[in-house]
Symmetry: C2
Subunit: 425 residues, 2 copies
Amino acid sequence: MKYWCPLAWLPSRVASGVLVSEVDGVITSVGSATDPGDAIVLPGLVFPGFANAHSHAFHRALRGRTHGDGGTFWTWREKMYDLADRLDPDSYYLLARAVYAEMALAGITCVGEFHYLHHAPGGARYRDPNAMGHALIAAAQDAGIRITLLDTCYLAGGIDQPVSLTQQRFSDGDVFAWAARVAELRPASHARIGAAIHSVRAVPRAALPVVAGFDGPVHVHLSEQPAENDACLSAYGRTPTELLADAGALGERLTAVHATHLTASDVSLLGSSRTGACFCPTTEADLADGIGPARELVDAGSPLSLGSDQHAVIDMLLEARAVEHGERLRTGQRGRFTVSELVAAMTAHTALGWPEAGRIEVGAPADLVAVRLDTVRTAGSLPEQAVLAATASDVDTVVVGGRVVVRGGGHALGDIGPLLAEAIG
Amino acid sequence: MKYWCPLAWLPSRVASGVLVSEVDGVITSVGSATDPGDAIVLPGLVFPGFANAHSHAFHRALRGRTHGDGGTFWTWREKMYDLADRLDPDSYYLLARAVYAEMALAGITCVGEFHYLHHAPGGARYRDPNAMGHALIAAAQDAGIRITLLDTCYLAGGIDQPVSLTQQRFSDGDVFAWAARVAELRPASHARIGAAIHSVRAVPRAALPVVAGFDGPVHVHLSEQPAENDACLSAYGRTPTELLADAGALGERLTAVHATHLTASDVSLLGSSRTGACFCPTTEADLADGIGPARELVDAGSPLSLGSDQHAVIDMLLEARAVEHGERLRTGQRGRFTVSELVAAMTAHTALGWPEAGRIEVGAPADLVAVRLDTVRTAGSLPEQAVLAATASDVDTVVVGGRVVVRGGGHALGDIGPLLAEAIG
C-alpha cells in the first residue's frame, strides 16, 4: 500500500509531498512526490504513530465520576479500588477494547499497559493465570493498536505491610511466582511483553532486582506523591530513586513514570543512567500530584515519553502541551521544549520495547497519524508548531502496521462512544 | 420556539426532561416534560450559554506561530505587536468574525472583547474613530454571538513612558479623548459597551478614576507578570491592586483579569470590595505567567469568570478544568472548586454587563449550549461532572437569543476553519 502525505513529520524536518510505501506493515520507501498517483491521500500533517507509554485501561471508567467531593490522590484511589473489585476478564476485555479504540481515534498506535489487575477477587487464580493480561492483548488487537503489556509486580500494601483485600487481586504472593506467571504470557505480532515494579511501596527491596532484571522494558511508578517519598525515606533512609539505584534497577531499560517529587541527586541518578522518564501531566494535574522536573531530567540524560495514565483525557497532543505548560508555569519561560522534542516524546516507542517504531523512515512499522490543519483549532498555525494547537479531535486518519484503523475521524469498529458507555455502564 | 433538553443545567440542579420556551429571544417558561412534543430536541446536557469574559480577538492569528524560539511573555508581545501593525477595520472584521464563529462552536454565546487596537497605524484617526470597535460589534453580530466591547484606555508605554510606534494605535492621547470617543460607540441588541484600564503600566495614576468611573462594566489587566508589580512598586510604592484601590477603582463593576501575582493583602482588597476576578488559565500557562490564587479570591468575595484571552485555545470547558487543575497542582488537593462553581464561572455574564444572562430561567436570554454525553470524551461520565470530561468538540447545538447558531457541531456561516485560515493568511 502507498500513502501520500501533503505534509509529513520526517526525522529531520517537516516535508511536503511525501509518498510512503509499505509492505507487510513495514515502510519500504519514503520519497518525494508532488502527485499522489494511486496512493491513499492522507489529509493535513502526517506524524509517526503516537505512543501512549503509560496506561491503566480500567481507570477510564472513573472519568467524570470522582469529582464529587474533593479529597486527595489517596481518596481517589479508594474509588479506583472499588472499580477494580468489579472487573473480570470478559468485562475487562470489553472495557479495554473501547478504551484502546478511543486511543486509536486520538492517533495512539501503541500503548504501554501498566497492568496489575491479575487475579480474581480475593486473589484466586483464573484458569489461565494470565487471563486478564491476555484479555488486554486481545482488546488491543481488536481495537487495531499495538500493546506492550507491562506486567506489574505488586506484592505489598505499603512498605512492610500486607496487601489489602482489593490488592489481593494484584499480588502473586512473591516475586518468583510473579516471574513464573509472566513467563507464560503470550506475545503476538501486535503485542510485546514488558515488566513493571508497581512502586517501591508495593515491591519489597529484595524483590526489586528480580523485576528489574526482566529481559525487556521495565517501568516503575516513581515519586508521584510526597507520601511515597516519606515512607521510603522512613523505612530505608533513602529516596525511591536511590533505592532503585541500590537495587541496580536504573538504566536504559527502565522508565520512571511520573518522577514528580525528585531531589537534584535523584535527577542526576536517573539522567546519568539513561533511565527514561514518562510524564503524565493531565493525570498529574487531575490527581493533584504536582509538576515534575521534565526539562532537568531530559538535560540530565533521560529520554522523555508521555502517558495518559488514568485517562481523565486521552489526547497525546494535550499531554505534550501540558508538559511544556508545566515547565512554563514553574519557570516563567516559554519554549522550554522545542516542538521537535515534544513530538519525540509523543512518538517515543523505545520505552515500550519497539525501538524500530516512532519514525517515518524505511524499516519502521507503517504507523501513521494524519492531523488536519484546516479545523477551527489548527487553521492558521504553522505546520511546524501545529502540535501546540491541535487536539485529538483533529486526528483524521490512523494507520497501524499498514492497516487503516481510523478514517475521517471514525474507527473501523464503528461508533466508540456507545461502546465506552456500555462497558462502563 | 421551544427546546427540549434530555438533561439541563438549571440554577439548582441537573434536571432531566426539561422544556424551555422562548419568545423574542427571552425564556418565557422552563418546565418538566417527558415528551419533546413539537419542540426542537437538543442532545446531551444543556447549559446556559458560556461567557468568554476576556478576549483579544486578533491574538487568534498568533496561534501556533510563536513557539519557534522560546522567550518570555515580553518577547511574545513583540510578535503580537507585529500583528497589530497589520490590521485595519476590514481585515479585523473578517478575522474577528471567524474567531467569534469559532467561539460560537465552542458554546460561547457572549464575549468580552478587551479592545485596544483603536486607531490607524501611527495613531491617525479613522473617519469613524470607532471604526475598529464597530468592526468587532459587526463581527459578533454576523457570527451570531453577543459582545461586550470593553473599550480600553491605553495611554502610556509604561509608567511615565511615552507610547511606542505600535502603541500609537492604542492611544487616544489623554483620558478625556478616550472618554469622548467611547461616548460615541453604538450599542446594539447583541452588543453592550464597557470600559477597560489596559493596566497600571498603560494608564497613568491620575487617569484611573476617569476610566473606573465608566457607567458599566470595567476590566483591567492586573498583575499578570512580576515585572508589572515591580514597576508599580518602584514608581508608586504600592502594588497594582493597592494603586487601583487608592484610585477608588475597586468594586462590583470592576473585573481584574489574570490576578496572578498577588499579595495576601491584594486578595483581601479585591475580595472585600467584590471586585471580580477573570482567570485565563490556558493563556496564563502558554505565556508562562503562573498560577494565580483563584480559590483564595473566591473565598475572599470575588466572583470568578473565565476568558480565553489570546486564544491559544478557545474552549471554556478547558479553561474551567485548567483553573481547577492549577489549584490542584499548587495545593495537592482535588475538588478545590465544585463543578457548580466551575459552571458558574463559565457562564458568568455579570462581569460583562449582562446580569440577566447565564441561567436557564424565566426572563433570561434564551442562550443554550447542548453538550453531547455520548462521545469518546464524555461517554461514561456522570452528567453532574461532565464539565471535567467534555471539550469544545462535544458542543453540538448553540442557541443565542432563541436563534440556532450552531447545529450538529456546524456553524450557520458554514465551515469556519477555512474562514480562519483566510483571515489569518
